[in-house]
Amino acid sequence: MTITLAHYVVLSALLFAIGIIGILTRRNAIGILMSLELLFNAAAINMVAFSKYLTPSEIYGDIFTIFIIAIAAAESVLGLAIILAMFRKRETVNADEMNIMKY
């Protein structure tokens, strides 16, 4: 079986869906951050696949992917730092308990 563009697009759509479901259902803030990575990876797979199959002579999609990876890393680092500071104050990383402010 040859791998075509459609396979990549389906894979990335699945990853995107799994990421969204993970963000909605995870209780642990670290788990939410991991699901966020899936969202970014879904977009990155799309970019690389489109770049390979549609514009093989140009590298815009690949460059975009490198930037996506860097930005996703920056976002996770900041998220982990805030979660760590939160853990020091409240002894929990449970997203359900981050509810001092509501309505």
Binding site: S12, I32, L36, L39, M47, L54, F67, E75, M101
Partner: protein, 475 residues
């Protein structure tokens, strides 16, 4: 390549580095704060006087009227935020350098965003602006409220940016290019493709977070309440302006051929944003939360103008963003000094402010009436122009809904003003007297003068925004 077009950004990056070095060499928060504030003022004047037009990097970076005016909005927001910050922040000397550095890098991201005409540059500069704001929201790391604001802002912001990114990847997949000019050329030549519907919806959801547009508005009240007040002021004006510049570049300019998809969606969302924001604002007890819901409804008004006729719509949005910057910073400035002196943000505690601090109460009144759209303040001229842009396109129902919403918003602004001026004299307040530092006084005076001047003579600024918008759509 004409590298001189990047002078403004290089200057700002230099200022950020200077603050970094000052911080490393042990300068206190007074020094870094004043250096930040006055270099922002200097840069604002420099940008205002030295407008450059041109295109570099194969069209990825454009300096035009829109980007020039947007940079003025961002820099005035940063300058006024700096004036509010110096005396009201509860930060130690060691951490203040990080605060101003992050603020400067956020403005740098916004300035790049205003000039980008290429998807990678747009996305990276949007993230530079936003990630700095996540850190700023959580900068009071000893306070649980601030941390909670930071984590909520970060998670919801990252979700929306993931959705936006997926939408952008679909746009790239259809057109095979990341340059906005080439995407525009592609959509003109090849017509509309069904996958654009999905891409446009995802882009709208992604930008909707920055604009605090329903249904992506849920973060707004929590982040506004938990963040340090000057940061809230900055998020409410500059970050929203950045979101609208992004929307102007991507939707009203590049995907104008897909207008029949995004226009009706945005019209319904504008109606929902105005109405939901206003209705939830009425029962609020906390001043910062109330202003948060009020900014949600303001985003709805801005969207009404945004979907109006192309040139006039963009022009009215730019004008209102400038008006909104000075108005909202005045309101948050009063909240910041009140919070600093009394430690409270409850609306009930504002009772009798007109007696202890009559000028401060008057400033809050001017700001709130301008937000409600009462002449001769600038909010009236701005809203009038937004509604005019929507009428040009024939959105009568939306304009009627907007006018009704203006009235609802006047109700809860007047509830605050009633507490300021008419209160139970038998209950004397136990809170300490509000002290207004000199820098904040100066900022409030600048805001009030700008509100009055732009409200009485809106023509000067509207001429500038009109010329800028026409320049963008000229081939």
């Amino acid at each position: 390549m004409n590298i001189a077009l990047l002078t403004h950004e290089f200057a700002l990056a230099g200022i950020a580095l200077l603050i970094f070095i000052l911080d490393l060499s042990g300068a206190g928060k007074k020094v870094t704060g004043r250096v930040f504030t006055f270099s922002m003022l200097a840069l604002l004047v420099y940008v205002a006087l030295s407008r450059k037009d041109g295109v570099i990097l194969n069209g990825a970076y454009t300096a035009d009227g829109i980007s020039w005016f947007a940079k003025l909005i961002f820099l005035s927001g940063a300058f006024l935020t700096g004036m509010l910050s110096t005396d009201t922040l509860k930060l130690s000397d060691k951490r203040a350098g990080a605060y101003y550095f992050l603020l400067a890098s956020s403005v740098l991201g916004m300035m790049f965003l205003a000039s980008s005409k290429e998807l990678i540059t747009l996305y990276v500069s949007l993230e530079l602006a936003t990630i700095s704001l996540y850190a700023l929201a959580a900068i009071y790391r000893e306070e649980v409220l601030s941390l909670e604001a930071g984590i909520k802002y970060l998670i919801l912001g990252a979700v929306s940016s993931g959705i936006l990114l997926y939408g952008l990847s679909l746009v790239y997949g259809v057109t095979g290019t990341t340059y906005l000019e080439k995407i525009l050329f592609y959509t003109s030549a090849n017509g509309f493709q069904p996958v654009f519907v999905l891409a446009v919806i995802m882009v709208i959801l992604g930008i909707g977070f920055k604009l605090s547009m329903v249904p992506m508005h849920v973060w707004t009240p929590d982040v506004y309440q938990g963040s340090p007040t000057p940061v809230t002021a900055f998020i409410s004006v500059a970050s929203k302006a950045a979101g609208f510049i992004f929307a102007v570049r991507l939707l009203s300019y590049t995907l104008i051929k897909a207008g029949f998809v995004w226009e009706p969606i945005l019209a319904v969302l504008a109606f929902l944003t105005m109405t939901i924001g206003n209705l939830i604002a009425i029962p609020q007890k906390n001043m910062k939360r109330l202003l948060a819901y009020s900014t949600i409804s303001q985003a709805g008004f801005l969207l009404v103008g945004f979907i109006g006729a192309p040139v006039i719509g963009v022009s009215s949005v730019m004008f209102y963003l400038m008006a909104y910057t000075v108005t909202n910073i005045a309101a948050f400035g009063v909240v910041a000094v009140f919070e600093k002196s009394t430690g409270s943000n409850e609306i009930d505690d504002y009772a009798g402010l007109a007696q202890t601090q009559p000028v401060l109460a008057l400033t809050l009144m001017v700001a709130l009436l301008s937000l409600a759209g009462i002449p001769p303040l600038v909010g009236f001229a701005g809203k009038f122009y937004l509604f005019y842009a929507a009428m040009e396109k024939g959105y009568l129902w939306l304009v009627i809904a907007g006018a009704l919403n203006s009235t609802i918003s006047l109700y809860y602004y007047l509830l605050i003003l009633k507490r300021l001026y008419i209160w139970d004299k038998s209950k004397t307040s136990t809170l300490p007297k509000v002290h207004v530092p000199a820098m904040v006084t100066a900022a409030l005076i600048i805001c009030c003068v700008a509100m009055l001047a732009m409200g009485i003579l809106p023509g000067f600024v509207i001429d500038i925004t009109n010329a800028a918008a026409e320049g963008m759509f000229r081939p």
